[in-house]
């Protein structure tokens, strides 16, 4: 602590250079934070996917529908403990930019399969009593200022009502919360029975099934049994674990992790050069002063420590400011206005970021620090 003033004074020597270096590091870590949130959002659900849940979709594509009658047959397959289904509705609320997922579901079955959606008991009861009832996640409710009792108009893009009417209206009877940080609380859920009776076509079909297996270790085996059950039927299935399903979705966008690492590597390499150059210049300019410090009795290890501390101070200051700004921007909400329902800065990435700030400081400062450590006093003083 007693050297803090010395370190701080050294950084104040060239204020503009210090400021620009801190800003460079800040931008790098802002980018790190934002990309981490985007990666998390694109791989949405991977971290919260249920280990005991399977997703069963049409073998050809998820846009192909499956008969609702499959539910009973699936429930009879050994190893299956519960079955629910959902369908993509794809409606618009007021403006196409206002994106959030909407699914017609069977309330009890669906909530049973997704215990991470926390819906108060009285609201659940009301939903079961109200055919046009719908529930929505807290995030979407807050975003549009919805409250229980509101009537929510949704314009269909796929599912016309009989009479070519595209206007659907739902009574908001509940608002659910997520049990974990990463739980998606943007989805709008309404009753499948109302949907199926009211839609103009494709009655008796669903988008996909969600199946709970009794033993997660036998998930692959049960998935194979489901696919075998519906083999050679008009609507063959593809069953897979929820994790594999979500990862498959993420992979459609591309190998996000690799893209992120490539971008960040380039950014951090550049910042390493910037910060390293700052420290190298700082040491070069102060050769005589460092010589004087050594003449006073500062040891080689202390010189190494002083320069490294200076470098780490710069990096940690800029990095933590960058992570802080990233956190504020991410907390401000999904920049796509709905495409990333789980847009948040994962704690693990924040911790990684903080460690990276220190690592960057060490990497940028190590060569100048070694130079300062190896400095021969007599040579340094001869330069005076």
């Amino acid at each position: 602590m007693k050297y803090l003033h010395l370190i701080w004074s050294s950084l104040r020597r060239k204020k503009l250079r210090t400021l620009l270096t801190v800003l460079s590091v800040l931008v790098a870590f802002l980018l790190f934070g934002y990309l981490a949130a985007i990666e998390e959002a694109l791989g949405q659900g991977v971290s919260v996917a249920g280990a005991d849940r399977l997703v069963v979709r049409h073998k050809v594509s998820i846009v192909q529908l499956l008969p609702v009658s499959y539910k009973e047959r699936m429930a009879r397959i050994p190893g299956v403990s519960d079955v629910a289904h959902a369908t993509w509705f794809g409606g618009i609320y007021q403006d196409p930019k206002n994106f959030f997922a909407q699914h017609p579901v069977e309330p009890e079955r669906f909530l049973s399969l997704y215990p991470e959606f926390i819906l108060p008991e009285d609201q659940k009861k009301k939903w079961l009593e109200t055919r046009t009832g719908a529930v929505v996640g807290r995030k979407t409710a807050q975003k549009y200022g919805w409250k229980i009792g509101d009537r929510i108009p949704i314009q269909a893009t796929i599912w016309e009502k009989t009479g070519r009417d595209k206007s659907w209206e739902f009574d908001l009877v509940g608002i659910y919360d997520g049990a974990k940080t990463g739980t998606d609380t943007t989805t709008f859920l309404f009753r499948y029975d109302y949907f199926d009776e009211t839609r103009a076509f494709a009655k008796g079909t669903v988008g996909w099934y969600i199946v709970r297996v009794e033993d997660p270790d036998r998930a692959v085996e049960v998935a194979a049994a489901i696919d075998t059950e519906f083999a050679n039927s008009p609507a063959e299935t593809k069953a897979e674990t929820e994790l594999a399903f979500v990862q498959g979705f993420a992979k459609q966008v591309g190998n996000i992790g690799a893209i992120m690492i490539a971008i960040l590597s380039a950014v951090f390499f550049t910042i390493l050069l910037v910060a390293g150059n700052t420290m190298a210049q700082a040491v070069r300019e102060r050769t005589e002063e460092l010589g004087v410090l050594k003449a006073m009795g500062f040891t080689n290890a202390q010189m190494l420590g002083l320069v490294l501390a200076e470098s780490c101070f710069l990096s940690v200051l800029g990095g933590c400011l960058g992570l802080g700004v990233a956190w504020l921007l991410i907390a401000g909400g999904d920049p796509t206005r709905g495409a990333f329902p789980m847009f948040h800065f994962p704690t693990q990435k924040i911790v990684t970021g903080v460690f990276l700030t220190a690592a960057l400081g060490l990497a940028a400062g190590i060569l100048p620090a070694l130079q300062a450590m190896r400095l021969r006093i007599a040579d340094a003083l001869r330069r005076m």
Binding site: K2, Y3, H5, L6, S9, S10, R12, R13, E288, E289, V292, L293, K294, A295, M296, G297, F298, T299, N300, A301, Q302, R376, I377, A378, L381, R382, M384
Partner: protein, 230 residues
Amino acid sequence: MSDSLLVRVEQVEKVFRRGSEEIHVLQGLNLEVAKGEFLALMGPSGSGKSTLLNLIGGLDRPTRGLVAIGGERVDELSDRRLAGWRARHIGFVFQLYNLLPVLTAERNVELPLLLTPLSKSERRKHVATALQVVGLSHRTKHYPRQLSGGEQQRVGIARAIVTDPTLLLCDEPTGDLDRKSGDEILNLLQALNQQHGKSIVMVTHDPHASARASRTVYLNKGQLSTVMPE
């Protein structure tokens, strides 16, 4: 060895290499400085005065020979122990003061004390005393750029004496000052020697400065003598 002997330099040689060329700066040099002595070391440029001062101060090592201060073989200490030894026993005063421009006078004087286990308040007391000794108690919060050359050198001297070292090594302490400021610095060094008992070895070109010392030796072509070379 006599108890009154502080510095013993015996058969010291210092050879620098420049490419394949060897430059013999000091050649079998012997020097003794007694405790409480104020020694002036004179000689032409390039005669090896600063090199000898560096060897006595443990900033460099001799190619051959021994350097002992207070009975301790400085030339045999490891780098780490040598640094600790310098912190305890040596105070340096440089020609160009070499203050850290980003630190105030008191912070500059405090620097050597950072290497001691003293608390912040103890360090503050020592700094105040050192600045009082050099007559700069009223300039503690000033940065070097706000001080005259003479005042900066006083801060440099305060920094050198703040740890109460065994030996003060001054390399041309008045070389960058006008006559009046130079005289003030010499008065201060003389007072430190006579009133506070500080042993001083001072390198200088200036006969006016060497006249203040209790003894003067001349270095020429790597050899010491008590007679000024022609």
